[in-house]
Subunit: 145 residues, 2 copies
DNA sequence: TTAATAAAAGACCAAAAAGTCTTTTACTTT
DNA sequence: AAAGTAAAAGACTTTTTGGTCTTTTATTAA
């Protein structure tokens, strides 16, 4: 089990992939995305349908259709993708799963955990999707297994 | 989904609970642990059997039996509990689930993620179980929902 | 030495996450 | 208008995680 669910991992990877391919105004089909990020095609289709409904990515049916991202989507922080898929509990939840854990009623890990969680939050909130895809353009980072 | 699995959350909470009660040399039964940390009794029993097999906690059957922790167990780092239950992938795995992600072949989040993961690792490795249970003694932190 | 106690073991069930497959809808080009 | 294309939708299956229940084994104290 990772920090993100498998669904969310695929979502992030596909968003990076689409952002990368879409910069030039193109659209890209699921088959290509799925093979580009090493994910099950039909499973990814469902994830992208969801992301599309939520406005994280855009899509068009029919010939020359596919997925793409408009300018607003490219400028969104990665946190929006994560929150759309896994919810915001990752940014706020107690490390030990305690519902009433808080500043005034902390679990033994509360303060230490909060610091780490906030760093993850900052990372995801302060970096835009387009920022990450820059390194993909340079061929420095990759999205396949 | 949190950082740890539900099983791991219960494991950590129960270990803290046992550590807290065991300081005075006592043993504590599952019923008491389960109600003390708000967990399903039989599910916790299985978790503790496993932790006992792995030497994270000690146990004794029969009257006056129960779970306890010897000195060596109390001085173990929390990381040992987490690793026993969730494995070490949490300390080393790629944030995007990529098997071949590494320093020389990094995913777009690799470096930023590594920094955060290492902090979690340090926290869990550098603090002993007994250190956490001190605050429980003082009544500052708690283990219930 | 037997009755009570408490963990160990294992069979079983439920829910959620992950993944597959088929059909439908929308769009575009000829 | 028709044929082809590609996403949307939805039914379905599998696997993993989380959880329950019953039986067995070991221990101890009367």
């Amino acid at each position: 089990m990772g920090v993100f669910s498998k669904t969310c991992e695929y979502a992030i990877r596909s968003v990076f992939f689409i952002a990368h391919r879409t910069a030039s105004g193109n659209r890209v089909g699921i088959k290509e995305i799925a093979s580009g990020i090493d994910s099950p095609e039909h499973f990814l289709a469902k994830i992208l349908q969801d992301l599309s409904r939520k406005g994280i990515v855009q899509s068009a049916k029919g010939p020359n259709g596919g997925f793409y991202m408009d300018d607003a989507a490219l400028k969104r922080p990665l946190a929006d993708v994560v929150e759309a898929v896994d919810g915001k509990s990752i940014f706020t939840g107690c490390g030990l799963g305690l519902a009433y854990c808080s500043e005034t009623n902390p679990c033994p890990l509360h303060h230490e955990f909060k610091a780490i969680r906030n760093q993850l939050k900052d990372l995801l909130e302060q970096t835009r999707i387009i920022d990450f895809s820059e390194n993909l353009n340079l061929g420095i980072t990759k999205l396949k297994k």
